[in-house]
């Protein structure tokens, strides 16, 4: 925990520089890899038509894109556990559970159709 800027007066806010940097890297990685998959998949789809490889690339890109925020929340749980900030471990774990409930709901809808 390091303060944001040299404070003019008073207490510095709580800032977790390492956590922020790691989350930023994860988000950048997720968006770059998924965008590359989607761009390549779309080009193949348009030039070669509806094929297995193009569809796999597109689906992989979308799943990576959807998984990026989930991974970011999971990483937050681990990072807050590492600095023993249990209040934020609980809060981020609740968000992760909510996202998992969304995945379960998605699977239920997927079967129903």
């Amino acid at each position: 925990m390091t303060p944001a800027t040299p404070a003019p007066a008073g207490r510095p806010p709580v800032v977790d520089t390492r956590i922020e940097e790691r989350l930023g890297l994860l988000l950048r990685f997720g968006v770059v890899v998924s965008t590359v998959c989607l761009a390549a998949g779309l080009l193949l789809y348009l030039y070669l038509g509806d094929g297995w490889f193009a569809n796999s690339l597109l689906t992989t890109g979308l799943i990576l894109l959807l998984a990026t925020p989930v991974a970011r929340v999971a990483m937050s749980v681990l990072e807050y556990a590492r600095v023993r900030d249990w209040r934020f471990v609980v809060l981020t774990a609740i968000v992760l559970l909510e996202l998992c409930a969304g995945i379960i709901a998605a699977l239920v809808f997927h079967r129903r159709l």
């Binding site: 003019p8 988000l27 348009l46 925020p69 909510e98």
Partner: protein, 302 residues
């Protein structure tokens, strides 16, 4: 309760698709449709970034009204663009201290619950109900924007003690350090829940609801409110988009086109927004929102 009308509307479209995992009311993929979606994504992303809001609020009306697609398919595509924008913007602002991570993570508990509920509800609501809701939300936000046309944004300058959830960042324009404390957390949580709910139902990011509330009543400066909201909407949109994806309403090629378009458009729009005056941007936003509201209301009529 899936209505007769909606079931009847989606069958023929579904029959025209033969690809594996996506079914239901997914629009057919043609090179022309892909090109139009790419362009629409770029315009929506550009306009959204210029006005400081997400592109979803323009993309969804375009895809439903101009392309004639079901609102579920449009919302699913729009939500994926919201995730891409959120991840890109958050990664880009790392280290600037404008994103309040702790506040964001607290509010995410409410916003993810809201969007989970909205994502499930959306699968049972009829299209015209969602279109009317979209119209009502854009009308309300437009009216709120207009009423605050001459109000300066609340910048609670120098709180000596930012507290557990407050923040501090260096502001480029004034050259000073902005320090703030978060007030009325329950209100911020309630706004986040509603924003998450509407996000999943309508395919928007939800920043249009959270940012004004955080800024006007919770003591968060506009820049921090907007950045924190941009950080949060990735989780909000993911909770909803996963459900649409599972329900077979997301067309991967069209989503890819929209995502690429929005990313290109918003990187141009951010520069345009920096040069225009706040008052003219607000006026433009209100006019566009009223137009969107009218068009969506017209579309919802039987």
């Amino acid at each position: 309760m899936v209505g007769e009308e909606r079931t009847a509307r989606k069958r023929p479209v579904a029959a025209s698709l033969n690809a594996g995992c996506y079914r239901g009311d997914v629009p057919p993929v043609t090179p022309l449709a892909t090109g139009i979606v790419l362009l629409a994504g770029a315009v929506a992303g550009g306009l959204g970034a210029t006005l400081g809001i997400g592109g979803g609020i323009f993309l969804v009306p375009f895809l439903t009204v101009v392309m004639g697609w079901p609102i579920g398919a449009a919302a699913a595509i729009s939500l994926t663009t919201v995730i891409a924008t959120s991840s890109a913007v958050s990664a880009g602002r790392t280290g600037s201290h404008q994103i309040n991570y702790r506040l964001g993570m607290v509010l995410e508990v409410a916003t993810a619950a809201g969007s989970l509920l909205g994502g499930i509800t959306a699968q049972y609501l009829q299209a015209h109900t969602l279109e009317r809701l979209f119209s009502a939300v854009t009308l309300t936000v437009g009216a709120a924007t207009l009423s605050r046309l001459n109000t300066r944004n609340v910048v609670t300058g120098d709180q000596p003690d930012p507290g557990a959830l407050g923040g501090r960042y260096a502001e480029a324009e004034s050259g000073g350090v902005v320090s703030y404390r978060v007030k009325r957390l329950p209100l911020a949580l309630a706004a986040s829940f509603v924003a998450g709910n509407l996000s999943s139902l309508l395919g928007i990011g939800g920043g249009v609801i959270k940012v004004p509330v955080l800024n006007a009543w919770c003591g968060v400066p506009l820049r921090a409110a907007a950045s924190t909201s941009a950080f949060m909407i990735g989780v909000t949109a993911a909770a909803g988009a996963i459900i649409y994806f599972g329900n077979g309403q997301l067309s991967p090629p069209l989503a890819a086109a929209a995502i690429l378009g929005v990313q290109a458009g918003s990187s141009i729009g951010i520069r345009a927004g920096a040069t225009a005056s706040a008052r003219s941007l607000k006026l433009l936003l209100a006019i566009v929102l009223f137009a969107v509201s009218a068009v969506m209301f017209y579309r919802s009529l039987p």
